[in-house]
Point group: C2
Chain length 694, copies 2
């Protein structure tokens, strides 16, 4: 089809503004631009194709995954099962080291606390949600909205534990949708490679390409002790992928901030990322040294350290974007275009008011409140920090104490995470059997207490409440040594005993969490009233203005819910990123030095002669992406799965704030490589056959 | 004196621009605004007073100090002698723990590698220096300037080891002065308190007020085995200080960047500080964990950890300034005023050209080259990182290898730090007997290698040269275990053996440093040619424009050379800093919790009943300040010493980029507190009497 000049000019105008460019956008399944995608890619997908892809897509923890057989078999990344692997391992039987390759299906092992979900239904609840907040301000606004969401969820899902309902805010409050998920809580590990086969190059090669990592693993959905029948699934394709092939990536990207105003972005650049990154860097230093102290410590810290390094490196990519003058000039121009469009429409301008100015006025407050909110409560939606520094024991105690206090109230008056509609998920996570390593728990708590004291300053009343006359070293040791919460039975008894059991408990961790509730809840209330609520209100006006200015050709920021993106298998040719689309096993053998993290995993190395060195290992794809897409199935227009997304490049981290097709690349582990690994390395022909490969 | 309205208006205009405000400025002694200071403070100092203060002021390492008796006794901060104390201590005889209180003068101990200097003469060499660079560009420019400085220094000081000469660049190249110093290389520790008495509150109270720290110590200058006669010295004043008293602070503030353009400041904000801070934070984490592993490690890491924490906290204050919208708006307005003044004068504008634009054009290059320069060479003048990560063994090897290579050439063609005029200082530092702790050396090297690999990326050819096929862990261990450079005799033999000895050496650290010279020298050459030289040239035009626009009422950026500042004893009353001018021993007893770092040092605690609780311990002073002023004598218009500067507040760190009288406060340990400590705690009446106190 040839474009008329006028239509081409209109497209150019769109491209300069905030309307989505070709291949841009993490689209919801109920607003996917089918025509535009088909036109851009030369494909012909339709609604039936979309439905099949959605029903074959799985959310697994913070990751994505895809169903690949009729018997509940699901592919995701190895790094998405790494905490499952760690939880199933001991230093003696360490599946991270050996890989996990069960001879028979009966040997598949349940992931403690694991759950998987498939999105079955989407409905619009915008009107109800907007009405709930009408005329309210501050914390009253936040709480009314939260309560309404809880009610909607409860109405739609109550009484059926095999479903979960969630009210999803899209376009920063511009729309609210009810998502209904089929939920599976018996998820078993079906195969994982040796960790080093999945992490070759370690932190150094992370967020980069060329890449040589079999970052894939399989889980299986079970129900009533049997594998779940999954007639709707992707078709496994083990052939060599072809450059230029159109592909779609279906998964749950975590969070983007593309709709933030310039002033909001400056707060992220100046306050949020520096705090998060600086304290993460110190934690990393403590963990590295901890790992070096003994083999036991190395085993304990392996997965947590990777996780800290991953978050930290992602943050570095984001800081680089926010401090890149050219990139930021593009963002500023997009905002200017938006404001010009609104100003050019007098009625719209009058109706919208000045949400930019309102958001600017919130920033000094947010800058002031962010450290306390991030360190004492977490969950600000912009940063990555949180109370307890990642201590599992602390986190359980917090859930027990707050859960008990909140359950004394009617559902609508509770903190939203304890609304009736969410208690099932809280419980299944709380009761799961997981190993606890006191030495690491203590390290995390000590670090968190000392960083909180440092950032809020020693004379802050919240810090006084946190520490009393104790030191971070002494207090963390006392709490970790004295608590019994590592025992799931203890946790269950305390949960079921309610507030009376909590208040009667002698457990020092429980007593500690009880003692800091006033101060920490006040921090959250202050944040909700002075930052969250006014931000939501202004953002909703901004969203309305955006729809008016750009029509339906806009997509919402990522929020950890299912999205579909599209692009091509393609290399990159910009400064700092010049490479072809593929890597091969041959490239792996070349890159290996033998010194960690550039050592090839032993079983993989032993299979060297059995693997065709030209087999494609990893590939780059141009579809719009952000963290959380890990494990997302990469599928063709024919519904064949050709890989799983496991990473993107450091430069791509700018995607959090704005799409740039030139640098945006996802990194994919190919089904070709996984087939070779299953068949030639790990003796898992069983799974290959199950997926219908000859 | 009452101001006429016109004169007052003129002052207002000045205040809005970059001319110095009342009390602003770290002035050189040959351009001190005597009249203005007298007018502002109501004092009547004169040239003779200035000369006496200059000749009583001492530079000691990176610190400042003041002569307080006729027998070479000098007061500085305890943290300025902490590495001397560490070098003289063992885990068994640990002066940091016990304090150092020699019964008799004969028991004073020489600080290894310590030297002290007094500024005796200043002369102008601007014309010679500017002529040397005339018509040159890039590295040729840098080298010609360096060579001329070496020649000037050599002509003025050659042959007399008791003097050191240094060409000082002021106003970023606007002026060059030759500073001549009387130099003392036998500096002995005369008294130091228990470390905790000087560091009460540790890192948490560092860079803050109210403060309760006896951060003072005494050294003594020796020559030919005898104390040096110092007839010119300050008068010790042990009385209670009085709020509002005018005071002068004489010392060598390290470095400010007030004359940087907006574009240059953005580079510091976006690239320099983030790199420095992020990697320092990880080093801190590694060191904290290292310290916790054993008592021996705690002893080893004590001083280095404090030093890392101090630099890191200073950096946080600076990041806060550069990300403070109000503060940065003030800086932008000052630059706009400057540019308007230049633009308003056609002749000046034509002569000056566009140095702002020229500096802006350098920034993308600087942003690109900074990580390699900072990590592989250091000494960029803006950051705090450096090659070897602070490993003493690495640093010695580097001096030995480069010194040998450079001494093969004529002085004018060498790297400037190895010019003939500077070899004496290089040697005395290299030959000094200092303890070396292999475990800490290995930690530092490993950290540096791994951070360099991370920031430059694993495939960078410089990183390949640095690591070969080794890992940071393995390489650092091999080098530290194999080297003999801890032995000063080995270092001396290698230095004296010249290039032949270096090339014949089997020492792995020497061989390693030899092997990385090509790559690391290339990084420096590139930086000098593409960043340093064009920056110098543009900055000099900017300096000329500044003199033309604002006259002589401007002062140069701090450069680690002697300056005089003035202000008053005064509290603070701005958000985040509301307190009176003084703290007392009574306040210390109140603040102590017993848990480190809020535990009172044992000897100090034991003396509690002997000390008047109303004795003023620390005080705040409004004079312009920046790091490096540590130990600076605080003196009255009568030439009495009333304290030693030992800190400033976190908010004051903005002083690096622009003066703000409202928040700018130095933190001073009073002579009243030191007198009480000497007399009532440490049994040092001997020194009190020597200073003439009854």
């Amino acid at each position: 089809m040839r474009l008329t000049p006028a239509f081409a000019a209109a497209l150019m105008t769109l491209a300069a503004g905030t309307a989505a460019k070709a291949e841009e956008g993490m689209w919801t399944f109920d607003n996917f631009p089918i025509a535009r995608a088909n036109q851009t890619l030369g494909t012909s997908i339709d609604q039936a194709w979309l439905d099949r892809v959605r029903l074959s897509s799985v959310k697994f923890g913070g990751c994505s995954a895809g169903i690949v057989s009729g018997e509940g078999l699901v592919m995701t990344n190895n790094h998405c099962v790494s905490s499952c692997v760690a939880n199933l391992s001991t230093q003696a039987v360490n599946y991270a080291e050996t890989g996990f390759a069960p001879r028979a299906r009966e040997d598949e092992l349940k992931c403690p606390g694991g759950s998987a979900e498939i999105l079955t239904e989407i409905s619009d609840v915008t009107a109800r949600m907007h009405a709930a907040g009408e005329g309210l301000d501050g914390q009253a606004f936040t709480r009314a909205r939260d309560a309404e969401a809880g009610r909607i969820e409860q109405e739609a899902c109550a009484g059926d534990a095999s479903f979960r309902c969630q009210v999803v805010s899209l376009y920063r409050g511009g729309q609210f949708k009810l998502y209904k998920f089929r939920r599976y809580t018996d998820v078993r590990l079906a195969w994982a490679p040796e960790d080093r086969a999945a992490t070759f190059g370690g932190d150094l090669d992370n967020f980069s390409f060329p890449r040589f990592a079999i970052d894939a693993a399989f889980i299986r959905l079970y129900e009533n002790g049997q594998p779940v029948a999954t007639p709707t699934h992707f078709t496994w394709k083990s052939d060599k992928p072809v450059e230029g092939t159109p592909v779609f990536v279906s998964g749950s990207p975590g969070s983007t901030q593309r709709l933030l105003t310039q002033d909001q972005l400056m707060t992220v650049r100046d306050v949020v990322l520096p705090l998060d990154q600086l304290i993460a860097s110190e934690l990393r230093g403590r963990m590295i040294r901890f790992s070096e102290e003994s083999e036991e410590n190395a085993f304990i810290a392996m997965d947590p350290l990777s996780s800290v390094e991953n978050t930290y490196k992602r943050g570095r990519g984001r800081m680089a974007a926010l401090t890149d003058p050219a990139f930021m000039a593009g963002r500023a121009e997009a905002e200017a275009d938006f404001r010009r469009r609104v100003a050019a429409n007098a009625a719209l301008a009058a109706q919208v008011g000045d949400p930019w100015g309102d958001l600017a006025a919130i920033q000094p407050v947010m800058r002031e409140l962010y450290p306390a909110m991030a360190l004492l409560e977490g969950g600000t939606g912009v940063g990555t920090t949180g109370a307890g520094g990642g201590s599992q024991l602390f986190s359980w105690a917090r859930t027990l104490v707050r859960g008990a206090q909140e359950r004394e109230k009617p559902s609508a008056e509770r903190l939203p995470e304890y609304a009736d509609s969410r208690l099932a998920a809280v419980q299944s996570s709380l009761f799961a059997e997981r190993p606890v390593y006191p030495s690491l728990e203590q390290l995390r708590l000590e670090w968190w207490l000392s960083k909180t004291r440092e950032w809020l300053t020693v004379d802050d009343p919240r810090v006084r409440a946190l520490l009393g006359r104790e030191s971070p070293e002494g207090l963390s040791e006392r709490l970790v040594e004295g608590t019994s919460l590592a025992d799931p039975a203890v946790r269950r008894a305390l949960w079921e005993g309610g507030l009376a059991a909590i208040e009667a408990s002698d457990d020092p961790m429980i007593k500690y969490l009880l003692s800091i509730q006033d101060e920490t809840r006040a921090v959250r209330a202050d944040w909700e009233a002075r930052v969250e609520a006014p931000t939501s209100r202004a953002s909703e006006r901004l969203a309305a203005a955006r729809f008016a200015a750009y029509g339906e050709s806009v997509y919402p920021d990522a929020t950890g819910t299912l999205r579909l993106t599209y692009g091509k298998i393609e290399g990159s040719d910009v400064p700092g990123q010049r490479w072809g689309a593929f890597t091969t096993f041959g490239g792996l053998w070349d890159r290996a030095t033998g010194a960690p993290p550039f050592d090839v995993a032993p079983k993989l190395l032993a299979a060297k002669d059995r693997i065709d060195p030209d087999t494609v290992m990893n590939m780059a794809v141009s579809s719009d992406t952000i963290g959380g897409s890990s494990g997302s199935p990469v599928v063709t227009a024919a519904g064949e799965i050709v890989g799983a997304n496991f990473d993107s490049t450091v430069l791509t981290q700018r995607n959090a704030y704005g799409y740039d097709r030139n640098v945006n690349r996802s990194v994919i582990v190919t089904t070709a490589a996984v087939t070779a690994a299953l068949r030639d390395v790990y003796g898992m022909e069983r799974l290959v056959e199950e997926m219908g490969v000859e």
